[in-house]
Each structure stands twice: as C-alpha cells, then as structure tokens.
C-alpha cells in the first residue's frame, strides 16, 4: 500500500501500468497528448510513451469511436477518451452499432477490446449540453459493458479489467468525484483486478440503498447522518450497469426488506427502474414497503446554480427516501 490517492490518480495509474505492461494498449482522444487530457488524466503520458501511443485526434467523435473500435478488432487495445460523456453522443452510432455488435453479429469471429473513457456527471453549472448523466442510454445495449466505479480502489481495478477485457467497455468516470479528498484511499501496489459486479460496500440492516458511481459518496454521507439516529443502512454498489448483476442487491434486500435506488441520471427509464423491476420479480415476498428512487428530475440541467441543484440527488433527498421506507 502506498499513499492515499484520488479517484483520478487511480485511473491515471491504471492506464500507465497497463501501457507499460502491454504495447497493444494506447490512448487516443482530443487533447490527450500535449494538453495532458481535458481533466489531466493523461498528464505526462506523451513524455513517457511517445506520440505513437498517446495520440491527439481531431475533434471527430464519430471517427474516434469507430477507429478505436476498428483498431481493437484488428488486435490492439485502444483506450479512446471522450472529453466528456456528452460528446460520446456524437460517436453513439459507432459505439452501439459496431463496438457493441461485432462479436455477436459475426458469430464470435471478432474480438473488440476497446475502452471508451467517459468523464461524466453534472452539477458544475456547465449548462444543458454539457451536464448529462446519460449512463443508462449506453447501458441499454447487450454487447457493450457499461461500468462506473465509485472509489479509487475500484477505479484502478476496474480500469485494468476494462483494458484486459476482450469486449468493448464504456467506462464512466464521474468528474465531481475525481479529486474529492474524502474519497482518497490507499490502493495495493501489486496488480489487482476488480470484477464488474455488485457488492455490499457498507453493511447495515435498516434499508438497502443501491447505487453506483458518484452515488456512493452521497449515500455514504447519508448513511453517516442516519447512523447518528440509529438507522443503519446497507449500501450496495452496482459497479456495472451492463451487464447488470444483482445478486448482492437481492441478497441484501431479502435481509432488509426495504430499498432505495440512488442515481444521478434522470429517473425515468433509469437504473432504478430496472433494479426495482428485478427486485420485485426475484424477491416479491420480501417487500415490506414501496421501493423508492432518488434521481435527477425530469428536466434538462439548467445553468443557474440553485435551479440546477434542485434537480439533482443530494444527501437530504437520500435521507428522506430512506426514512419513507421505514
């Protein structure tokens, strides 16, 4: 174990270690080389790995998504960076129609080990076009793995998993938690991998709170508050939205009989919608109260700060929802 690192450093370290380990791994995206990445994730990479492996692209998301996919099919392990997930919409067709389909459509003939890095998340007053949390829009498609770590430990282990995975992985990194001091933690120096599967991140008995990504920090803070009142919630971190593996969540729910799903994207047709559908399918007899959702309101993110905040999940909203289930 070394010194505590941030979520962002964890991703930087995973990328660098994988690049040292495997020459097939390379980085392409806008401003990833000279600039060092929009959020400085690949700072210093050009110096260490050179322009062959750290490639600045034109502003051309369709070609970034598609060329990375093609390079992956042809045997490389590209890590394509979208400056933010908002711009991945421009490359959407290549992601869902090609990256997500070639393995199946061609009967397993092709591998497609591409990683699409997508810094995302709202709440930074960037206006409607730059504040999406569209995770679910990508997670709709079997064939594409959509994952989103919530801690530095997970971020590093999941990035290594993503790069070594033979299929396409859309890797979502919530920018609001990139450097959050409260999240910093020590991570192992030796090689490790974190599975794309849900797990219990905090134990409790009062209510199961299911979340992922930046939701973990919010729920953890809510849990600390609730604990002061003697209410101990159990938090399940999904880690992966597609495939969605809910064993841990279902087991936890069978124990607590109550649940709240917390996500930062819009609630309608959201992560909660799917998780709750599966909970009632698989654990109907265990339901003691309506399962609730805390999500972004059904409104495009406004620029103005107070309005924007109103529409987003926060600690008080999580606390209120938990109490409502009790």
């Amino acid at each position: 174990m070394g010194k505590p690192i941030s979520y962002r450093e964890a991703i930087t370290n995973a990328l660098a270690e994988e690049m040292r380990r495997d020459d097939r791994v390379f980085i392409m995206g806008e401003e990833v080389a000279d600039w060092g990445g929009t959020y400085a994730v690949t700072k210093g990479f050009l110096e260490e790995f050179g322009p062959r492996r750290v490639r600045d692209t034109p502003i051309a998301e369709m070609a970034i998504a598609g060329a990375a996919t093609g390079a992956a099919m042809a045997g490389l392990r590209p890590v394509a960076e979208f400056m933010t997930i908002n711009f991945a919409f421009v490359g959407y067709d290549q992601i869902v129609n090609h990256a997500a389909k070639v393995s199946y459509m061609f009967n397993g003939m092709f591998k497609c080990p591409v990683v699409f890095r997508c810094p995302g998340g709202g709440g930074k007053q960037l206006g409607a076009t730059h504040s999406h949390t569209p995770d679910i829009v990508f997670a709709h498609y079997p064939g594409l793995k959509v994952v989103c770590p919530s801690t530095p430990y997970d971020a590093k282990g999941m990035m290594k998993h993503a790069i070594r995975d033979d299929g396409p992985v859309l890797f979502i990194e919530p920018v609001p938690i990139y450097t959050t001091p409260k999240l910093k933690e020590e991570v192992p120096e030796e090689d490790y991998i974190v599975p794309f599967a849900s797990h219990v991140k905090r134990e409790g008995d009062a209510c199961t709170v299911i979340t992922y990504g930046e939701g973990w920090l919010t729920c953890k803070q809510a849990a600390d508050e609730l604990a002061k009142e003697g209410i101990n919630i159990e938090i399940v971190d999904l880690r992966s939205l597609q495939p969605l593996e809910l064993t841990a969540a279902i087991e936890s729910f069978k124990k607590t009989n109550r649940a709240v799903v917390v996500e930062f994207g819009h609630g309608h047709y959201g992560v909660g919608s799917e998780v709750i559908a599966q909970l009632q399918e698989k654990a109907f007899d265990y339901i003691d109260s309506p399962i609730l959702r805390v999500a972004q309101d059904q409104v495009p993110p406004p620029y103005s700060g107070a309005l924007e905040k109103m529409a987003l999940p926060d600690v008080p909203k999580v606390i209120a929802a938990v109490k409502e289930t009790l």
């Binding site: 600039w35 502003i59 051309a60 711009f87 007053q125 960037l126 059904q298 409104v299 700060g305």
Partner: protein, 328 residues
C-alpha cells in the same frame, strides 16, 4: 463609409472587449460567473463586421464562444451579463449560461456547446428560408477546429446539393483548444476544404473590420442572387485561453504579441477613424468612457437581478403550444 457607422462599430468592438475583460475578472475574483467561460477577445472584428453587413431578418447562429455575437446583434449588455450570472433577467433566463445565449427578436438563434452542433441547425434555417421563398440569408459561425467533425461535412454537402442561402463563417483563430490547425485538419486551409462541396470561399483578414464587412456584403449579395452557399474564412486570433483556466502553454508569447500588438482590430479601427476619417480623438475617448459605464451598469444590473424562481424549474421543457390542436 458613414462616420456614424464607424463609430457604431468602434463602440460595439470596445464594448465586447471591455465587457469580456470584466467577465474574466468576475469569474476569477468574484465567483459570480460559473461553469465555462470562452472569451472572444481578439476576434471582435469578425462578429461586428459580419453582423453589420446583414439585413434585418438574416439569421445568426454560432458556437459556445458567443458573447461577442450576442452583443454585436444588439443584445443589451445587462441581459448578457445577467445570463452569465445565471439570473432570471438573462437573455436565456439564466438557463443557458455563457455557451447558450440567444435572442429571437434579433434572429440570433444562439450559441451551442457541442462543437459543430450549430452547423446543421444553421443549414436548416437556410433550408427553411429557401422553402418559404424569402431572400433571407443565414450566417453560420464556427471555429476552424469544428470543420473536422462530421456535422460540418454533412451540412456543407447538403447545402451544396440544395443550393442553400447560407454563409459558413469559419473563424480561424489557429487553435482548437491547444491543437494547432494543421495538427487536426489534413487540409489546413479552410477555403480549400470547402471546395470539395463546390462552395466558393474567401480568406479574409479577420482583424480588419472593413475587410470583414466588405467580404460579407459581397457574399450576402451572391447568396441573395441565388448562387448558393458561401464560405468566409476569417483569419483571426483569440488573445485569451480557450476558456478561463487555460494557460496557453501550446503557443508562444511572441506569437500572441504579433497579433495583439501589431494587428489588434480595435486599434486598427481607431487609427482608421482618426487618420483617414479625421474623427477627433476626443470622440473616441468619449465612446470608451461610455462603454466603461455600460459595462459597470451591466454588472450592477446583473448583481441586483433575482435568480430564477424555483417554481420555474419545469417551465418550457416542451414549447408552449400556440397552434390549437383542432381537427378539420
């Protein structure tokens, strides 16, 4: 050229400059502007010269570097500043922010945050005017970096095929964020690039408001004569970083000095006014003072304006239905 026109241009260019310098300060030191802030300083002659050449009703649409265009079409600085502060009195009601300013009364359709995203929209305005049979043109602005995205090529091709009445104004400020034009565009000369779509292009000194105005007038005349889409490549330079916070390590101080100290559009216009048109220094000074007051007034206005009422959060998610849904 009429003296009052020149002074009007001068006023707008100085207004954009001082207004944005104030924005930079507000962002960095007062925290009243948040999110992204892309400054237009250095490029003022482009927005002012092109917009001066348009007729009323001609459409204007641009990218996220849009404060200059907003002020040039005549948005009141008070309302532009209020937008930057997220106030209810802003041009977009505080919901758009720096990147998303619009004013329908000026047929200014806004700034758009997605690189290249405005180009198909502008093409659509031109389609609508041709469809309706008007002689209105569209001025569609973009950075040179946005010519590498698919939107650009699909739009220009469509405009070319349909002979749409549009001018694609490419503001070539040499960089898209930190990437110099030739590193991102296999054909670094924009007017060459558009030839593939048989769109005539002209390279213009974008630091010279007269040249910008003249070239736009002529291009508009060609558009209205039915000659189809046109391209103007405005050679210009942004003095500040891509957005607030960018320390511009990708370019040299010498390069900046070359543009700012030798070609500054405001100084060039000022010299032209005093030396060629014999306008008194005192008149120019009076305009500068007036601008300082306007800028301070905009800050005062914006500071005193209310934030949007929380009850308005859900307004306009869908447009208000104006045409009744009646059956025949």
């Amino acid at each position: 050229m009429d003296k009052s026109v020149l002074l009007d241009w001068y006023h707008t260019m100085v207004l954009i400059r001082r207004f944005e310098e104030r924005c930079d300060h507000l962002y960095k030191f007062e925290g009243s502007i948040k999110g992204f802030l892309h400054l237009y300083i250095g490029q003022e002659a482009v927005a002012v010269g092109t917009i001066a050449a348009r007729e009323e009703g001609d459409h204007v649409i641009t990218a996220y570097r849009d404060h200059g265009h907003a002020l040039a079409v005549g948005c009141h600085p008070n309302h532009v500043m209020a937008e930057l502060m997220g106030k209810a009195t802003g041009v977009s009601g505080g919901r758009g922010g720096s990147m998303h300013m619009a004013d329908i009364t000026k047929t200014f359709w806004g700034g758009y945050g997605i690189v290249g995203g405005q180009t198909p929209l502008g093409t659509g305005f031109a389609l609508a005017e041709k469809y309706k049979g008007t002689d209105r043109a569209t001025l569609c602005y973009m950075g040179e970096g946005s010519t590498n995205i698919g939107y650009f090529h699909e739009s220009l091709n469509m405009a070319g095929v349909w002979d749409l009445p549009i001018i694609y104004v490419i503001e070539n400020n040499k960089y898209g964020m930190g990437t110099e034009v030739s590193k991102a565009s296999a054909e670094p000369i924009m007017i060459e690039k558009v030839k593939a779509y048989r769109i005539p292009g002209e390279r213009v000194d974008g630091m010279d408001v007269f040249a910008v105005y003249e070239a736009t007038k002529q291009a508009l005349a060609r558009v209205r004569a039915g000659e189809g889409p046109q391209c103007l490549e405005m050679m210009t330079y942004r003095y500040e970083g891509h957005s607030v916070g960018d320390r511009t390590r990708y370019r040299t101080k010498e390069e900046l000095a070359l543009w700012r100290d030798e070609k500054d559009p405001i100084r060039t216009l000022q010299l032209e006014c005093t030396e060629r048109y014999g306008i008194a220094e005192s008149e120019m000074l009076a305009i500068q003072e007036q601008v300082m007051e306007e800028v301070e007034e905009s800050v005062r206005f914006a500071n005193e304006s209310p934030y949007p009422d929380p009850s308005t959060l859900y307004d306009y998610i869908y447009p208000v239905q104006e045409e009744p849904l009646t059956l025949d």
